[in-house]
């Protein structure tokens, strides 16, 4: 289990990186926590690794609490651990820290990057679903310039994004949580820190009378790409204290199309979608009252 040979470059500017990435078989290396195992197992053998860790300006978390562009901008070199402990970011978009606490174990979170896990487009990754649920986008830099790509256009399939050719995902943008909105995130995994058998992130929005106006969910390890499911119909107009979250869970079960694997049958995943939906919506609704 040793990587096949590759060339290595660690450019100090984005332009250099993009030039290097025009070569055939060049691949971006950021945190490397998903890529290195693939290299060591020789399931991937890029010709060149373009290590972006020395490029300045990609390591910041920019929090805009309100107004235009309200939300959290996460640079390509921001490690999971930073988001986990970023109080300001958690204030504006609580799902970030909540989801990140479920990412693997501390040593992985110290090195792995949030943007990298999004660019990796693993449907069992937490941050892909969070990007979707928050209606986020990524900034993709190419030799032709930078552009924002919405989450729905970005994720194409398991481990596959719409980005082709030389490109670096330089940033992920998670919009701020709207007012009167609460969130919750929960996973069931076989071992703590494993990829989730099933996970759920949800948002619930209430009106001034604490009645539900929106309930949305996105799931981990369910489906080939992240999806956002609108569960509002099951609970719309219901009071936060008496809302039928079970009905929302039941609705969610009908909306998802999970696969089975070694650790869970499709049916079991569907069961968990319902259970986790019910649990998380109830918690998110409680939280929404206080925001």
């Amino acid at each position: 289990m040793k990587p096949a040979p590759f060339g290595y470059a660690d450019p100090t500017s984005l332009d250099e990186a993009l030039t290097l990435l025009t070569e055939d078989g060049a691949k971006v290396l950021a945190g490397g926590q998903s890529l290195l195992p693939l290299l060591s197992m020789r399931l991937a053998s890029p010709a060149t690794l373009v290590d972006i860790n020395r490029i300045p300006g990609l390591d910041s978390v920019v929090v805009t609490p309100s107004g235009d562009g309200a939300g959290v901008r996460v640079g390509a070199l921001v490690r999971h651990v930073e988001l986990l402990h970023h109080a300001e970011a958690a204030q504006v978009q609580p799902l970030l820290a909540r989801a990140t606490s479920n990412v693997a174990h501390p040593a992985i979170r110290n090195r792995g990057t949030t943007v990298g896990s999004i660019a990796h487009a693993d449907p069992s990754g937490e941050m892909t679903s969070v990007l979707a649920l928050t209606g986020g986008s990524v900034t993709v830099a190419t030799p032709a310039g930078s552009s924002a790509v919405g989450w729905a256009d970005f994720f194409v399939g398991p481990l596959e994004t719409s980005v082709h050719g030389p490109a670096v995902v330089t940033e992920a943008f998670f919009p701020a949580l709207p007012p009167r909105t609460g969130t919750a995130f929960e996973e069931v995994s076989r071992r703590k820190g494993d990829y989730a058998v099933c996970g759920a992130g949800v948002t619930v929005t209430l009106d001034e009378d604490s009645r539900v106006t929106s309930a949305r969910a996105s799931y981990i390890s369910v489906g080939l790409v992240p999806e956002v499911h609108d569960l509002t119909d099951a609970v719309v107009g219901q009071s936060v204290d008496s809302a039928d979250w079970t009905a929302a869970g039941a609705l969610a079960r009908t909306l998802v199309d999970p696969d089975g694997d070694l650790h869970a049958s499709a049916d079991y995943r569907r069961l968990l979608v319902g259970v986790l939906t019910e649990r998380t919506l109830a918690r998110a609704a409680q939280e929404a009252q206080n925001r």
Partner: protein, 803 residues
């Protein structure tokens, strides 16, 4: 007075080097050696049509490429059947490199040697092996159906039919007031030590000798195997097991192909060669264990006393049988556990499949046997509406029945005669420790929190310390240092500490003066190996006997010098002294010097032993007839038969009836391994065993698909527990000494893992009220079970309520 050492939690002497990064594991040895890597079969069953190495030859750094064609003499013959048995009628083993047919994914086909491991893997990538795929057999049921044969010349896939019986079981069943029959499965797991295997070989051209470091549990036997296979004289081969990063059984198998091929290459190339097994290799080419199908029929009376037991089982031995049928024998003979079973018949077919070989993993067939017997006890209790503890109690062998002869033949060819035990004592302690009698109360409390609580227990008897022998060498140097060696190896059990405790105690020396070496054939050439919880029993007693020999000689010499009677002498803190006469003493180190009459003085100590140093007795030769120079002694311990440790475990589980997640909330262990040398080490063994038991019950399985591909060959998908998955364990001890050996010891290494599957299955069944007939079980499987309308419902029997 010397500090008390036996039975004390002496801190380990191994630890300092291991916590400072100064341990020496096989992969740490031999900087700069050439690296080996292997091309392994990607198919579970295939005929090799050709091997094309042309594209690999020009890789910079390639040193050599070997295929079967390059093997000569005994190397070209099949690997040994290590443990032949009359009932193993169709033994099959592979070749060091596959000859024509590969029988499992991962079987070695080509060995590459290159400048480093990275390059060696590059070379492997460029070698093309063409195969013709053959039909694949996976799982005991497919093997038994024998639609296809694993080995062409074994059409029924049966390697062995193991059969033992103690009477006419059919008559006994017919005469039983009640009978019940059921079938259950247990799946595969594996030892999975944190360190994979590894071999480092150096050929010394100048004196035609070979030194091999290997991560093994049996260095003396690896040495013999290498000598035989490579046609070397035994004294020209040294094998050393350095620090070994866990074994749990997988490293008792030998010679692994790599243990022969790496030395072969080192000799051929005239340069050191090294191989470190990576994790993927370990999954697909090192041994697994556990898989069985068990069909059980039990007869019993209206009080729940067993009158007859008939077990028919199929054991998956994988593609080959290098380790014989030890696992099924152990299952067969340990199954009855602590119970008096008047008539018992067991028939186990050991069958071939196109999967990795199956050889002992900690417990070595006992977890399967325990699972059969203990689930039988549960079923009897359920059938009669009795408390499960009570049914067990009624069947236990009583303290006055020892030695208890089961009339079975154990894995060592010796009778299964339990030497000593107090099983009722174990049960009493367990019931108290886990709060068995409060189970219904706890169940109600958990229900109020929306959880389904269940409790289960399982008891076991474990034959430990089988022969044929181990030896020990103890030598006192003129410096006062005491050298101790034994041939068996260590994989983290703390032998250096435990054996030093024994020697310090027996010899009366400070433990700091004692140095212990294990598993190094340069120091001790005769040994069997570390398996079957035998190190403390076998080497512990051998070393004790060797130390007693040294002590006797020391006293004899000191008695001469001190002009005292041997019986009046004692050794304390390294000083031989006349009891009750302060000042009349001689340091043991001086006795060591005097024990070796010298002509030449090379230091101050030696001077005391030279021929003009003092008045000698001219009437006797300097070394008496029949005596030998030096204060040292070698002795061996060879037991008449195994000793039998025992224990009882209980688990309390809570199940979330919305997600079907299973949480082991309490785990209690009562453990009897006879006299204890070091309770800290024993408890550590229990903790580790329980973690593996929980892993085996709830998390770990080898998931082969129908094509014989192992689908979870990584730590991502083979779910060894982290700390978060292992419950806290409470332990109580009972010490029933073995009458068979001088120290009264029974083994402790494997016990912790044995009842895990049985007692956790029992607890889950108790929680959900559905029959658990296949283990391990995961939440997704439990969900399938509880929503299946055809799933067997378990009759509710009160727990902890006396009948």
């Amino acid at each position: 007075m010397t500090t008390k050492l036996m039975g004390e939690p002496v801190r380990r002497r191994e630890d300092l080097r291991l916590i400072t990064g100064r341990g020496r594991y096989t992969d740490d040895i031999g900087h700069g050696a050439a690296a080996a890597a292997f091309v392994r079969s990607p198919y579970a069953h295939a005929r090799i049509l050709g091997i094309d190495v042309d594209a690999a030859l020009d890789v910079e750094g390639v040193i050599a490429i070997y295929t079967y064609e390059d093997l000569v003499g005994p190397m070209a013959e099949p690997l040994p059947v290590l443990i032949p048995h009359p009932q193993l009628t169709a033994p099959r083993t592979g070749f060091p490199l596959a000859r024509d047919v590969v029988q499992h994914v991962g079987e070695a086909v080509v060995m590459v040697v290159a400048t480093d491991r990275y390059v060696a893997e590059d070379v492997c990538d460029r070698i093309t092996v063409s195969y013709e795929e053959l039909p694949v057999v996976v799982g005991v049921d497919a093997a038994r159906a024998a639609a296809h044969a694993v080995h062409e010349d074994v059409p029924d896939n049966v390697a062995a039919r193991h059969h033992q019986e103690t009477g006419d079981v059919e008559a006994a069943l017919a005469a039983s007031a009640r009978t019940l029959s059921f079938t259950q499965y247990i799946e595969r797991s594996a030892c999975m030590p944190m360190e994979g295997k590894g071999v480092h070989a150096v050929w010394n051209h100048d004196d035609s000798s070979l030194r091999v470091h290997t991560s093994t549990q049996a260095s003396t036997s690896v040495r013999a195997a290498i000598a035989a296979k490579l046609q070397l004289s035994l004294e020209k081969v040294e094998v050393i097991a350095p620090d070994v990063g866990g074994g749990f059984g997988v490293k008792i198998v030998h010679p692994w192909p790599e243990e022969l091929l790496v030395p072969m290459a080192a000799i051929a190339l005239g340069q050191p060669v090294h191989w470190a097994e990576d994790r993927r290799e370990h999954f697909i080419s090192s041994a697994h264990e556990r898989e069985q199908r068990q069909e059980i029929t039990v007869g019993y009376d209206d009080e729940g006393r067993v009158t007859a037991l008939d077990v028919r089982a199929w054991h998956d031995n994988g593609a080959y049988t290098p380790y014989g049928i030890i696992v099924p024998i152990v299952t067969a003979t340990q199954l009855v556990g602590p119970y008096a079973v008047p008539v018992y018949r067991v028939r186990i077919d050991s069958v071939y499949t196109n999967t990795v070989i199956v050889t002992p993993y900690r417990g070595a067939g006992r977890p399967q046997g325990c699972y059969a017997m203990e689930r039988t006890m549960d079923r009897i209790a359920q059938d009669l509406g009795l408390d499960r503890a009570e049914v067990r109690r009624r069947n236990l062998i009583q303290p006055d029945q020892f030695p208890y002869d089961h009339h079975l033949t154990f894995q060592d060819g010796r009778p299964v005669i339990y030497d000593s035990g107090n099983y009722e004592g174990l049960l009493d302690k367990l019931v108290a420790l886990v709060g068995w009698d409060r189970a219904e109360e706890r169940r109600a409390e958990a229900a109020s929190r929306g959880k389904q609580l269940g409790i289960g227990m399982a008891m076991y008897v474990e034959g430990t310390g089988p022969g044929p022998y181990e030896g020990g060498h103890v030598q006192v140097l003129g410096s006062g240092k005491v050298l101790v060696s034994t041939g068996l190896t260590s994989q983290g059990q703390g032998h250096e500490t435990a054996f030093a405790q024994i020697v310090a105690h027996e010899l009366g020396v400070p433990i700091e003066d004692v140095e212990v070496t294990t598993g190094d054939t340069r120091r001790f050439g005769y040994a069997v190996g570390t398996f079957a919880s035998r190190a403390a029993v076998m080497s512990g007693n051998a070393i004790a006997l060797a130390a007693r020999g040294v002590r006797a000689k020391a006293l004899r010499i000191a008695a001469d010098v001190l002009e005292a009677d041997v019986d009046d002498l004692e050794i304390d803190e390294g000083l031989v002294q006349v009891k009750g006469t302060p000042g009349a003493s001689i340091p043991l180190r001086t006795v060591a010097v005097l024990s070796n009459p010298l002509r030449y003085a090379f230091d101050e100590a030696a001077r005391q032993a030279t021929q003009f140093a003092g008045p000698g007795d001219d009437s006797k030769p300097p070394v008496a007839v029949g005596d030998a120079p030096g204060l040292e002694h070698v002795d061996y311990y060879s037991p008449i038969r195994s000793t039998f440790a025992s224990g009882a475990h209980a688990a309390v589980v809570e199940i979330d009836p919305t997600t079907w997640e299973i949480d082991v909330v309490d785990y209690a262990v009562v453990h009897d391994c006879g006299n204890i040398i070091n309770p800290m080490i024993v408890e550590g063994q229990v903790h580790g065993g329980v973690a593996q038991g929980v892993g085996g019950a709830l998390y770990e399985r080898m998931a082969y698909d129908g094509d014989g591909q192992l689908q979870n060959a990584s730590f991502m998908d083979f779910l060894m527990p982290y700390a978060s998955e292992v419950p806290d364990v409470v332990i109580d001890h009972q010490e029933t000494p073995s009458p068979l050996n001088p120290l009264g010891l029974k083994g402790a290494g494997e016990a912790g893992v044995i009842p895990g599957t049985a007692c956790i299955a029992s607890a889950i069944e108790d929680a959900v009220g559905r029959r658990i007939a296949a283990m391990p079980i995961s939440p997704t499987e439990l969900y399938d079970l509880v929503r299946n309308p055809d799933a067997e419902r378990v009759p509710a029997a009160p727990t902890g309520v006396p009948a």
